[in-house]
Subunit: 232 residues, 2 copies
């Protein structure tokens, strides 16, 4: 399959889901632009390193990388990821409970940045690594949410031809791990931990999800950990 | 009609459209919260004064006023309102041309702030003074855009019960002026000019729209102007 000449934007947090999403976008588009949102999370510095490492890996030039400070989310509050006064809670494995790390309506903010940037640079596709299975009840990780979002983008943009694509939304975490290995995507360059920047803590909800995914896939996580509990 | 006890958020830029929108919200809700976005526009300081003046007028306590810095829009560029290198162009009266002051997908960013805040404070309605007639081709001022946005909010929020209301969207500017007078809303506290903060310039597209509205309504604009051309 020959690649599209259209410019595509990838939202790259620095985690595994966005890595695989970028790897998939890279098979479909000749030219990629990477967007990273700094919304004041505790491990932002480490995630930004992963962002640049992954950009280097896929040959995305610095001129096509953008980091946007969205620390206004801190002013809205209501989330342990952005509110220093709330501790990050461990993952309870209960998908019905929307965790403290929930930033209300967060993905709309994130995708809106990408849509605005897409209008400016002429990109037609926006790839985001939203995953429904481990969304812990986030309403804005559901396929139906992205369907509604694409309908909104059609109405709210100049030419109505920008589309959000969620290539890993229906994958389980272990499938994402396997897909990354299959695509030779650099898992060792990613970062997932919400709590710690030197080694992954192994116990925050994001580490637990990640380790469970590797363990179910039967693959060793290349990242260093402070502790590496058995989750399965 | 008795007022709803539900808390309602009003997006208040400081202009006439948001004034009338707030006045209408005030007739329907016992408790209002005012949200102002500072997206780095040239006349922000003056608009913020109008925001607080209007909040005082409607008895909105300081605890229910929020100002969010959305200067990330500057980093996206592509607009004379947020990019200092582009001059504000005069209004051409051509609705088919999307003006330089267009921030791509701007209203989605703005409403998303309100939705996030609504989730945090428990507000169920969000009033925004979008006006289709003088939208100069902004796609995100169309009624169909707000219909799609409400569908998205239903999908992307915890309880799916937050609604955006656009009470002046189908009004012409002169109807907004007349409505403000009829509702005894304080037009003298508003600010519309994009270019100047001491007196309104009278010639930027926003001043032209405003003055045309007053002139068609046969009402004198209470604001001071550097010049006050006849637009009709």
């Amino acid at each position: 399959m020959s690649k599209s000449q259209d410019l595509a934007i990838c939202l790259v947090s620095g985690g595994m889901d966005s890595l695989v999403t970028a790897a998939i976008a890279n098979t479909k588009h000749e030219r990629l632009a990477f967007l990273h949102l700094n919304y004041g999370q505790k491990t932002e510095k480490r995630e930004l390193k992963s962002f640049h490492d992954i950009a280097e890996f896929y040959g995305v030039p610095e001129s096509h990388r953008k980091i946007i400070d969205v620390s206004f989310l801190k002013q809205i509050g209501g989330s342990s990821l952005t509110d220093d006064s709330i501790n990050v809670k461990n993952y309870e494995g209960d998908k019905e409970v929307i965790p403290d790390s929930y930033v209300p309506f967060r993905n709309t903010h994130i995708v809106s940045m990408a849509v605005s940037w897409a209008e400016v640079i002429g990109a037609k596709k926006i790839f985001i690594g939203a995953v429904y299975e481990d969304s812990s009840g986030y309403p804005d990780c559901r396929p139906s949410y992205y369907k509604a979002l694409n309908a909104l983008i059609k109405e709210g943009t100049k030419d109505g031809d920008i589309e959000v694509i969620t290539p890993v939304i229906l994958m389980k975490k272990e499938e994402i791990v396997k897909k990354a290995v299959e695509m030779k995507a650099p898992l060792e360059l990613t970062w997932s931990c919400y709590s710690s920047e030197d080694k992954s803590c192994g116990i925050c909800d994001s580490c637990a999800l990640r380790l469970r995914g590797f363990q179910k896939a039967g693959i060793e996580d290349p990242l260093p950990y402070h502790q590496r509990p058995k989750y399965i």
